[in-house]
Symmetry: C2
Subunit: 214 residues, 2 copies
Amino acid sequence: MSELAELRQDSESPKRQLVLDAATALFMAQGYGAVSMDAIARAAGVSKATLYAYFSSKDQLFATIIGEACRQNIVVSNFLPGDETDVRASLTALAGQTLRFLLEERPLAIQRVVISESVRFPELGRAFHDNGPGVFRRVFGEWLTAETMAGRLAVPDPAIAADQFIGLLRSGLYLRATLGLTPPPTEAEIDATVAATVDIFLKAYGPSGSHATA
Amino acid sequence: MSELAELRQDSESPKRQLVLDAATALFMAQGYGAVSMDAIARAAGVSKATLYAYFSSKDQLFATIIGEACRQNIVVSNFLPGDETDVRASLTALAGQTLRFLLEERPLAIQRVVISESVRFPELGRAFHDNGPGVFRRVFGEWLTAETMAGRLAVPDPAIAADQFIGLLRSGLYLRATLGLTPPPTEAEIDATVAATVDIFLKAYGPSGSHATA
DNA sequence: GTCTATAGAAGGATAGAC
DNA sequence: GTCTATCCTTCTATAGAC
């Protein structure tokens, strides 16, 4: 029991968490430059001195928050089709799950912030990629390899195919959402994008003769 | 002769152009928040008072510059394959031209700035989309329709197919470039992405039996 | 029209009381 | 540990000389 306390981070201070929560919300919504330390302290309900007791600078606070957000920004961790043999159903489930995740406000905000600040904070671009698209490419690529060996797919280069799958999902709807264009995508549009992605993917990488349509 | 002068914009002041050039470079490189009016005036070699004589505020200067940059950010304007009948060659040329354009520093910078400031300046997201991906989808979609009617392609929904083409080009390499990851893409990598894009596109939308490989 | 100089506000960071 | 109050810098924007 007492070991549990030892396993905790040394950052269990409640005020520290208040600062982190407030700063996260503000940075995600407005980006680095538009948020002041005054605004963070006010939103957290603490003084600026307390804020600086936990974080030595605005830069460090920002990098801590966005880096941690990137590390938690995993999309495919629970994609384990296991004994599923219906490839189209598996791909459709994965595409739907992935695109809906990408279109959530938080992942959209993380991507916006990382892209805009990747010049000033290069490590954020790396963290975002390695924990997001990089993980997807690895996990999905391994699955594509297994499916190819099982004869259910014919994927010559799993890394390229995984990148293409991501690219197909990130076209159209997602690009418009990234640019903040209204109105937000409807469920029907999301399903249509998912279906179109699975269609083109299976036409290209399905076993010969599996050129089924929606 | 004298009509020429009348045709000119009322913005032919050389100092105004100096300000525009300097501000464009700075905003592209560092974004809105990190650039001060002092820095712009210094880089342009004019005083701040002169700067404010031409642009009433930092917001207006920024919106003017980025909006104009979006309007000039056209990618497919000179894509006119004309009497070309080799679809694979046409698609390869278009894909290579488009991806190389997207990977240039200026389009990358425009996209970064627009994405990061689309919350504060919603009209920029719209201008970027309508002059960039929107134009591509329309022009390329019309071409796909013509090729389909000519029997050289079989594209059921040109708008979706055009979005997918863009998405395929924007996967992998381009995503990493957007995040500022080093090293920059090599010519070989660009060619490989182009080839992979054309391959999957033709497998899905080529006329039956044209499943050629690279 | 253009400059120098500066006003007025806001930002990041800190000293010192409690 | 936390707060109030403040320092110093930098920012946007402008007044006034030439």
